[in-house]
């Protein structure tokens, strides 16, 4: 999940070891320096495309614009047979993955439907559907 942070970690640690005595001497809070030395923080939630998000949801190969065959009939958002709740952060990682695989069509529908009906949440600045936002928190815990 955090491929961008792995490569720079060594560099920042080395840099920190060199400059930290100087910075401490200048009165910079030690906490700032140790947070650098502890390793680069996680910021990236995919490796660079929405595809990778979908891959991590277990919906490989399906375009978001594609209407899933299991889409329930009736007005969008009113009659849904899909999962009512996304997996919770407390679920075991293996259960989460199997949950996604099992519910992939319903999840895909919910993502489209979420955007259609403005059920969105902003996570780290990314405007995601409610379903994705919940997924994000789950996978962040996995990482």
């Amino acid at each position: 999940m955090n491929s961008t942070s792995c490569g720079r970690r060594g560099f920042i640690v080395r840099l920190g070891m060199i400059v930290s005595p100087i910075l401490v001497g200048l009165g910079v809070p030690l906490s700032s320096i140790t947070s650098v030395l502890a390793g680069a923080r996680s910021r990236s939630w995919t490796d660079g495309s929405v595809e990778s998000l979908r891959e991590s949801l277990g919906i490989v190969g399906q375009a978001c614009s594609q209407v899933p065959t299991s889409k329930p009939s009736g007005p969008a958002g009113e009659c849904r047979s899909g999962p009512r709740n996304p997996p919770s952060p407390q679920m075991h990682p293996e259960d989460v993955v199997s949950w996604w695989v099992e519910h992939r069509d319903e999840v895909l529908f919910r993502i489209e439907d979420d955007f259609e009906h403005e059920r969105t949440r902003t996570v780290n600045g990314w405007i995601l559907s409610e379903t994705e936002a919940a997924t994000y928190s789950v996978f962040r815990n996995l990482g």
Binding site: G16, S32, R41, S44, V50, A63, N124
Partner: protein, 524 residues
Amino acid sequence: MATDGRDIPQDTVLEFDVCVIGAGAAGITIARDFSGEHMRVGLLESGGFHYEKEVQKLYRGQNTGRPYFRLDEARLRFFGGTTNHWEGWCRPLDPIDFDQRDWVAHSGWPLTREELLPYYRRAHKLCQLGPFDYNPENWFSSWDGDAILRNSLKKIAPTVFQYSPPTRFGVEYRDELEQADNVEILIHSTVTELVPKRGAEEIKIARIRTLAGNEFHVKADHFVLATGGIENARLLLASNSVRPAGLGNRHDLVGRFFMDHPHFVAAALLPARRKLRLPFFKRREVDGTTVEGVLTVPPEIQKREMLLNLSVQLRPPKQLANTYLGADDGWLAVRDVFADMKRGNPPSDLARHLKRILGDLDGTIEGAYQEVSGSDTTVFPLFCRTEQCPNPVSRVQLSRETDALGVPRADLHWTLSRQDLQSVRRGMELLAMEMGRIGVGRVKVPATVDQWGSRIEGGWHHMGTTRMAHDPRSGVVDPQCRVYGLENLFVAGSSVFPTSGFSNPTLTIVALALRLSTHLKRLS
């Protein structure tokens, strides 16, 4: 015929039927429209036929509001005016831009787009554009990769800009004007004051000075002020020898309501496919006309959401880490300091920036590292050009400093309101939902609108300072662009715009100039 003002003897009085002050897009359009008529027209230009440093310095002024461009770089003072560095973007204002909108204070033009339509069509020819057609379907019939944009959008809509070659009005129309028997071009002739008759509601003379030191005067039945969105206000305010508050300023409106089109990267699009192709956003030539697509918010959604008008364009892909959206506050502070320096200004609020840098040292180091190394998250910056609310606090005033001809310099206090920024934010949310719904990708916005901060620039579009209105308590000029309280003084240019839409102003400036010259011909 062209005369150099520096050769005119001291205290000469020249007489014309119509005196047009300023030879930019508006002034040249009006003078040209009178070509071949029975009325004598004087077209006064402060500069010469080419750029001159000393003349350009007359444009120097100060910025006391949010960061803005140097005033002597944001416009040009020679024959052809600012069209000499115009990029050529053209699009008429939308019908909704003319409406009185409950959610936009001081909105509403005293004319409709319908009334302006015939002049827009004529303006198209002057700006050397293609057919008057802004329906994207008619221009992008062969959108190969864009069917998804064309067929699926609901809360946002595609539209197009056309591009002028661009027309350099001074170059393109100089010969025609010089050959016109009834038009006299006066170069190096700077109007320093318009002097009204005492006790009467009309301009008696225009006082003209040159950098060579001579002074002369022009009398005319009608004067048209066409010196640009900042200078129109400056000259009205500086014409204060008879009326201390300046001309047309009985209600303290001259110079107020200054608007520009905020330009900035408001968000970023992470594409669903690694190789996202959206040729809609690429500038292309269709049957000899250059066009380019942008996205906008349809009027019904603007009404429902109470938004200002807005356009969005995809910029070439960039690594997220190299946009401010992917950086931490410490690194953003470094970039803010560099941005100030790049504009030629000393870093503003340096102590605060240093505190941000030291308070987020890991973010600063990481940002610097990513700047050098790059990362693999590629996004498309979403570049916005937006409308801003008419705001009386945003204004042009006179500075205490004077220029080489003794005229007080302009003091520009450009201000944006919270509503301006929140409107863009909501527009980005709507765009994000549409991009998610149709599967194009996901959008990232800054945590708060304050993060846009100094990244917001203007477009060198100076508008609103002599706004048009139905009554003198709401505007400086009437619906025919006549200055309230002065029978023979008219204003041409974007300073009369009550609101700005998001379209670049030149096409509307030319259309309004044609409308004004038609009106003046009727009066004569």
